[in-house]
């Protein structure tokens, strides 16, 4: 009897503790978002989004940084997606299980944990200097693609792994080759999971600052990039730049830019969640 009471008490305690932990995160996040909204919401209008940077806080806008972020996002996707998915398919379906493949696996997981500034240094040396891309959108995209590649690979592998073995069996038993099974069964069935992983990886990329600063992205660009070889800035760098200025007006600008950046990542995460739910239902 005593024991049962004790267990119930433990149960209750843990439940309360769990609620506190959960709320702590949520409360902090909402305080943060709230204060940002209070500071920045008034500043957001169409002009703010379409204006070029300026020395005067009231006239400055995020147009070039936003366009830079979009360029980076699109190019990073184009580079990282095929590489990541192909690598994941190879590791999951073709690579013989053995010492080499487990070595590869461990290293890919390690890469996901390497600080982003290291990727910046790598990008600076390889893409900017050796491949002579300069501090261009392309160099930035390659650097970020490298950064998110491990995440794309790991999440794609998980998605492919989640496809029931029975579907593989059925396809092989009908005389399908490995590639036919991958392309017409495994990839469509794991599409939702792959997409989720890719979008989450990209929403990380869109918030990255350090590696782009290292490869030489500008803090002030008077024009939006017109080609992959142009110089660029991105939203996080613009925010960093504004925050480090003494005038109050720029602080408001920074808050407004943060709202836009958050909006972009929230929308991307929302899309990821939507696809995950949609495709998961389809599979089982």
């Amino acid at each position: 009897m005593n024991n049962i009471k004790k267990n119930r008490l433990k149960d209750q305690t843990f439940k309360v503790w769990g609620i506190i932990c959960t709320l702590l995160g949520l409360v902090l996040l909402s305080i943060f978002i709230g204060s940002i909204l209070v500071d920045g919401l008034q500043r957001i209008d169409w002009d703010f989004i379409t204006s070029l940077p300026s020395r005067k806080a009231e006239r400055a806008g995020i147009f070039t940084a936003l366009m830079g972020s979009i360029w980076i996002l699109v190019l990073t996707t184009i580079i990282a997606l095929p590489l990541g998915i192909a690598a994941a398919i190879y590791l999951e379906e073709y690579a013989k299980k053995g010492r080499l493949s487990s070595l590869l696996e461990v290293n890919i997981s390690n890469l996901a944990g390497v600080p982003s500034i290291i990727y910046g240094l790598l990008g600076l040396e390889i893409f900017v200097r050796i491949m002579q891309m300069g501090a261009s959108v392309l160099a930035g995209s390659f650097t970020l693609a490298l950064l998110i590649l491990p995440i794309v690979i790991v999440s794609t592998r998980e998605a492919i792994k989640a496809v029931p073995k029975s579907i593989r069996d059925a396809s092989f038993a009908l005389g399908a080759s490995k590639w036919q099974t991958i392309s017409s069964q495994l990839l469509p069935a794991s599409f939702g999971g792959i997409l989720t992983g890719v979008i989450l990886a990209l929403s990380r990329a869109v918030g990255e600052t350090a590696p782009l600063i290292v490869i030489g992205a500008l803090t002030y660009v008077p024009f939006a990039p017109q080609s992959p070889m142009d110089e660029f800035s991105v939203l996080p760098i613009q925010i960093f730049n504004w925050i480090s200025r003494p005038q109050h007006g720029f602080e408001v600008n920074a808050a407004a830019a943060i709202i836009i950046l958050l909006l972009i990542t929230f929308i991307m995460n929302g899309i990821a969640v939507y696809f995950r739910n949609k495709w998961q239902k389809k599979l089982y």
């Binding site: 299980k97 069996d169 059925a170 009908l174 005389g175 036919q180 069964q185 069935a189 389809k282 089982y284």
Partner: protein, 288 residues
């Protein structure tokens, strides 16, 4: 001189005899060969299988007859499923799989170097324990095997899908929802769909790995009826845990135990008057 001549004639005679014998023998051989081809669709010769260090099949010789239903029975882990999956090489993907011996289909070793595994699997279809339709429409499920062969002709595909669904008596139930997801079907319907999908690629042999173990009695009865009809056109090998089922639908039954083929006979004989004590113990429910 004379003696030499006789010797020579004798020599030629024996030579001619030899040629005649050879021709006769050859003739006899080919007759036997076609006989085997007609009677024995599948043959196992000294088959041994390992998974890493574990020996799953310990040397089995077996002939499986054409257009008959052959049932594999035995307790769990006796190797009957492993043995079944040798015939369409589905064990190839299992880590640590290794095999010795030969499996002949229509007299040809399917583990030979030049064998195209994809081609083999089109001729040796398989139905699995749990219904495993693709997460696609009913139509796409049945058409898949044809589409991967590069067949794109819509009318032909439609005809094949219709035919196959009719063969498994599913057509009337689904003819209006061909574009619906196959996952919306009941378990029994799904399993019949899986059989239809197998029939669509026109195999000559169908392997079934406990096809009714996940189904209710009514669906099971339907599948059994279907198997009975299918044996007119196909050679069927079925693994089952259900001895009544083996008795009902199979012409021949093989009893496996611990990776060995203990007894293999006409089902009637094996179930009423088994030769081996182990078989009798198993079919009377004394173990397993």
């Amino acid at each position: 001189m004379e003696s030499q001549f006789i010797l020579e004639i004798n020599g030629r005679k024996s030579y001619i005899n030899e040629v005649f014998n050879l021709m006769n023998n050859n003739k006899k051989d080919t007759v036997i060969d076609t006989n085997i081809k007609r009677k024995h669709k599948l043959q196992a010769k000294g088959v041994k299988v390992w998974y890493d260090d574990f020996m799953a099949i310990k040397g089995i010789d077996m002939n499986i007859r054409a257009n008959k239903v052959t049932a594999f029975i035995g307790p769990s882990g006796c190797g009957k499923s492993t043995f079944l999956r040798l015939f369409n090489r589905m064990n190839d993907y299992v880590d640590g799989f290794r095999m010795e011996g030969e499996i002949l289909k229509d007299g040809e070793n399917i583990y030979g170097k030049k064998v195209n595994v994809e081609q083999l699997r089109k001729q040796v279809g398989m139905v699995f324990q749990k219904p495993n339709p693709f997460p696609k429409s009913i139509f796409e499920n049945v058409a898949y095997g044809l589409k991967i062969q590069g067949i794109r002709d819509k009318d032909f595909l439609k005809e094949k899908v219709t035919d196959s669904l009719k063969q498994v008596a599913l057509w009337d139930e689904v003819k209006d929802d061909l574009n619906k997801s196959a996952l919306a079907l009941s378990g029994g319907q799904q399993q019949r769909l899986c059989i239809a999908r197998t029939l669509a690629v026109e195999p000559s042999i169908i392997l079934m790995d406990e096809p009714t173990s996940a189904l209710d009695p009514l669906s099971t009865a339907k599948i059994e009826e279907l198997i009975y009809e299918l044996k007119q056109k196909y050679t069927i090998v079925i693994v089952t845990h259900n001895m009544q089922q083996a008795g009902r639908i199979s012409d021949y039954t093989a009893f496996f135990y611990m990776g060995e083929l203990i007894e293999y006979d006409k089902s009637k004989k094996l179930f009423t008057n088994p030769e081996k004590q182990q078989t009798e113990n198993y079919i009377t429910g004394r173990f397993g």
